[in-house]
């Protein structure tokens, strides 16, 4: 969903990654009298990110803004589909329990080895066996080592949860992990071996299954593997016990008001421990975990999440200087200069994800299904989208274009060349030419008509009879306003090309419940196009599920054999470039109209410093305050 963003890469990736690594390694260094030397420019970014200030590091309490309606309410790190949000995971749970592999390096979605709990996995046996070796540096806050058994414990809890309901693990797709897990063993305390029934693409399995989408993270078996508060530690490898443990932990998790006091949740391996949690507001305070084994600032500060009920309330807090790190709402972009004057650094970048307008490939109304199946039509529609105009007019200039399933910015390592620049630049005349070249009589300002039916190269295409009018509906979500603004402009430009789009507003919840073909088959003829925003993206940006035929999260039933083959390669072949090939094809094939992505802009006080990546992370919905320190 558009509000639960995710992440991707940068052209300056090497430079940024280098700075991050250096900063992470030298974070304990400290000298006096330093200052911020320079700033980093990130491709596609709004503003710059200062390099880490040298000099004495101070500790204190750093407050961080929680966006409205996005406060944490789930602490058990085995998230369910219902609780799966970046606000529960990336900026809350992951402060206390780290995912196995950390996959956000500033704005770049890539594994950060220094922040990962294990060495990179080794794939063997035709990519059917995965060997994971835990690092020895990480310990639980009660002094126990983080072992491969703890990782196995997590897997067994996931399996126990899935036995109760497939909605108990958000990454679950029937037939895939953990259904394809034949066996899992821990030959020693640092090694976990997974034997899968079929090959997996290492990039996909590492980035999405072992790191992000699940996520998979070690859990303290020595403290949590029990079925009651004072019960004995159970053998969690016994499925019956695993179920009891899962049920017990889920029940404990439902007691939101005890999150900060329940001894269970105090056993952590991440950089922070929860010390206060307000069940009403979602406000929380964390203190540094002194046993944390990962990279961090020499003097870590307390981390305080401050909830807000509206963007206005949050922005007032920024303007009053009462919050150390807060976001700048899209409407307030013109006030960035003022915010800087008040003593804040400001940086923005689009969160990795896709914003798009869906086609309904099953809508038979006016033969739209046949029309949508024509590549030339989808190309013409892409030509009618004025992305730069949208960014300037509707995003206050704070956004970046996106031409395919992998957005142009933040630059991803998987970004194909044809998605870096617009393959279908805005041009009404190009759209008109495409339609004319395929058998349509174009009536600018009116409605185009198919006058050359047939499936020849210069005809309307299979299933489009003569006399068919190019007229259909588009349902859009009325919030946020930029969705309506963009589709209104699209409809206006389309009219210039004789395409008659009837717009109607709806709301996000209604749309996703009623205008998704597989879930609401009774409504397939009620919508031709829809725009509810978009979807977040996993670090390894395959569209598996969304664009493969019969995919579990299909919306408009797009189906293309080439796409199916490429998507399958992205998840099951050993080809590291498979996902790039997939994105390249989909950029050309335009299964949806890809839209620009607005920046997520953050401001933080100039008295806070740290690794540049730790501030870039904010734009990707990650909070890594362990790298922050006060300069005075």
């Amino acid at each position: 969903m558009m509000s639960s963003g995710r992440r991707r890469v940068a052209a300056l990736a090497i430079a940024v990654a280098g700075v991050t690594a250096i900063a992470a390694c030298s974070s304990s260094a400290s000298s006096s009298g330093g200052s911020t030397a320079s700033a980093i420019t990130v491709p596609g970014g709004l503003g710059t990110v200062p390099t880490a200030a040298t000099g004495t590091e101070h500790a204190g309490t750093i407050t961080w803004a929680e966006p409205p309606g996005a406060v944490p309410n789930f602490i058990f790190p085995v998230l369910t589909s219902a609780s799966n949000s970046v606000y529960n995971s990336q900026s809350f749970e992951w402060e206390m329990w780290r995912p196995l592999y950390w996959t956000q390096n500033g704005v770049t979605p890539e594994v950060v080895p220094s922040m990962s709990l294990a060495d990179l996995p080794v794939y063997s046996n035709g990519d059917k066996t995965v060997t994971i070796t835990m690092k020895s540096a990480y310990k639980w806050s009660d002094g126990q080592p983080v072992t491969s058994k703890d990782l196995l414990f997590d897997l067994d809890l996931i399996k126990a949860g899935l036995k109760e309901s497939p909605s108990n693990w958000p990454a679950y797709v029937p037939g895939h992990f953990p259904d394809d897990l034949v066996s899992a063993s821990t030959p020693d305390s640092s090694t976990l071996v997974l034997n899968l029934s079929g090959p997996v693409n290492p990039g996909w399995f590492t980035d999405d299954i072992l790191s992000y989408a699940g996520p998979t993270n070690p859990l303290p078996a020595h403290a949590w593997a029990k079925a009651s508060v004072n019960g004995p530690i159970l053998d969690f490898t016994n499925p019956a016990n695993a179920k009891k443990i899962y049920d017990f932990l889920i029940a404990q998790n439902k007691s939101v008001s005890t999150y900060a006091t329940n001894p269970l949740w105090q056993v952590v391996d991440g950089p922070y421990k929860l010390t206060a949690f307000n069940a009403t507001t979602g406000a929380f305070t964390m203190k540094p975990n002194t046993t944390y084994g990962g990279p961090h600032a020499a003097k870590m500060s307390n981390f305080q999440g401050v909830p807000f009920t509206s963007d206005s309330a949050e922005f007032n807090a920024v303007k009053s200087g009462s919050i150390d790190a807060g976001y700048i709402p899209q409407n307030d972009v013109p006030q960035i200069a003022e915010i800087k004057r008040l003593g804040y650094n400001v940086f923005g970048e689009p969160p990795s994800g896709m914003y798009f307008v869906n086609y309904n490939f099953k809508d038979a109304t006016g033969h739209f299904n046949a029309i949508a199946n024509q590549l030339y039509f989808r190309q013409a529609m892409a030509h009618l989208e004025d992305q730069q105009g949208y960014i300037k007019a509707f995003f206050n200039g704070a956004g970046d274009p996106s031409y395919g399933p992998i957005p142009a910015y933040p630059v991803s390592p998987y970004l194909p060349a044809n998605a870096a620049t617009n393959p279908y630049p805005f041009s009404v005349s190009d759209a008109v030419s495409l339609l004319k070249a395929h058998g349509w009589t174009v009536t600018p300002g009116g409605t185009d008509t198919c006058t050359s039916a047939g499936s020849g190269a210069s005809q309307c295409g299979a299933g489009v009879p003569a006399g068919t009018k190019l007229s259909f509906n588009l349902i859009y979500s009325t919030a946020p306003a930029i969705i309506g603004q963009q589709v209104t402009d699209l409809a206006s430009k389309a009219k210039q090309a004789g395409i008659n789009i009837t717009l109607s507003g709806s709301n996000f919840n209604y749309m996703i419940a009623n205008y998704i073909d597989p879930a609401a088959p009774a409504n397939v003829n009620k919508w031709a196009m829809e725009d509810f925003g978009g979807e977040s993206e996993n670090p390894y940006a395959t569209t598996f599920g969304l664009f493969n035929t019969g995919g579990s999260t299909q919306i408009g039933d797009y189906s293309n054999p080439t796409a199916d083959s490429l998507i399958n390669a992205s998840i099951a072949s050993g080809d590291p470039a498979a996902v790039k090939a997939e994105a390249s094809f989909l950029t050309t094939n335009q299964p949806v109209i890809f839209q620009p992505t607005p920046d997520y802009i953050w401001a933080w006080k100039t008295t806070i410093s740290g690794t540049p990546a730790s501030f870039e992370n904010l734009t990707q919905y990650y909070a890594t305050p362990e790298f922050w320190y006060l300069t005075k």
């Binding site: 799966n84 507001t281 419940a513």
Partner: protein
């Protein structure tokens, strides 16, 4: 009967719009298998009548349901917020009444004077001003430009602390009070003018009763009758809180809880909130009727 009728209507309407909240709860990425499993697990695959009977059964046992998006029981969610909302709405209503009644009487007695015109102009401006705008102005001037008050309401969940936090609670209370005063004072002015034209006022004056007593004994009591109805109808506000004020001043209350539940298709919260609203409306009307009979013997006799 009203409450039962409301519960049936809301239940049917909700299910007509959203047969199941599964997609909203589980998210766009949830597969059909996950959605079906969730529906089964939570009883959303049963016929609507079965779901309603189950809901009512839970209701009579004090179980208002479970909010999946908030991961808490609905009862807990309401309990956490009801006192905060009631305080903000109640204190604002009290201040508004205390200001609006004398203001309305003053305007009626001094009608068409400069004072009346000034108050009328201010009331019109305030009345026509959106709450959001008024709040923003107050924050900008009295919290950011001249930091006399806090830019947000008290963040404490302890009612005594909230009540004692004048620094942070002043602006939200003032915002709500001003808006309410603007409307109440107009009603009061109109009502007082009607009463002033009554014969018994003329008789009282003719008898040589001091003006102060005329106003207090004869005018005020009678002019307040419409206000009693108005205040009674405002009682549901104690529940609903004031969504916009809560959102603007970062105040977690019931209004905001309900608003967020709409965005998250949080069935149980929506149902509970609407039912409570119905109960409060009934109570408000009842209290107003009782108050009217106390204030006006003619009604009591009837």
């Amino acid at each position: 009967v009203v409450v039962i009728g409301v519960s049936i209507a809301i239940f049917i309407l909700l299910h007509a719009i959203y047969p199941s909240p599964a997609r909203d709860v589980l998210g766009l990425r949830a597969s059909l298998a996950q959605i079906n499993a969730w529906n089964k697990q939570n009883g959303y695959d049963d016929p609507v009548i079965v779901q309603y009977v189950r809901y009512v059964n839970h209701l009579v046992h004090g179980n208002l349901g479970y909010s999946y998006p908030e991961n808490q029981t609905v009862l807990a969610l309401l309990q956490e917020r009801v006192a905060r909302s009631a305080y903000l709405s109640g204190i604002s209503l009290l201040f508004a009444v205390m200001i609006a009644i004398p203001l309305g009487v003053y305007q009626a007695v001094r009608r068409n004077t400069i004072g009346d015109n000034v108050v009328t102009s201010v009331a019109f401006v305030t009345y026509s001003m959106p709450v959001f705008f008024l709040g923003l102005i107050l924050i900008q001037v009295l919290a950011l430009q001249f930091p006399i008050f806090g830019f947000e309401a008290s963040q404490s969940t302890s009612l005594p602390t909230v009540v004692g936090d004048w620094h942070d609670m002043t602006l939200p209370i003032v915002t709500l009070t001003l808006i309410t005063v603007a409307s109440f004072s107009r009603y009061m002015r109109s009502s007082a003018m009607d009463v002033l034209a009554q014969d018994y006022i003329k008789v009282a004056r003719a008898k040589g009763l001091p003006e102060r007593l005329v106003l207090l004994r004869h005018l005020l009591r009678n002019a307040c009758l419409p206000m009693i109805t108005l205040i009674g109808l405002s009682i549901p506000l104690l529940l609903s809180g004031n969504l916009i004020t809560e959102a603007l001043f970062n105040y977690q209350g019931l209004g905001l809880l309900f608003f967020n539940s709409l965005g998250k298709a949080d069935y149980q919260v929506m149902l509970a909130y609407t039912l409570m609203g119905a109960v409060f409306v009934v109570i408000g009307n009842f209290v107003a009727d009782i108050a009217l009979t106390v204030a006006d013997p003619r009604i009591r006799l009837a």
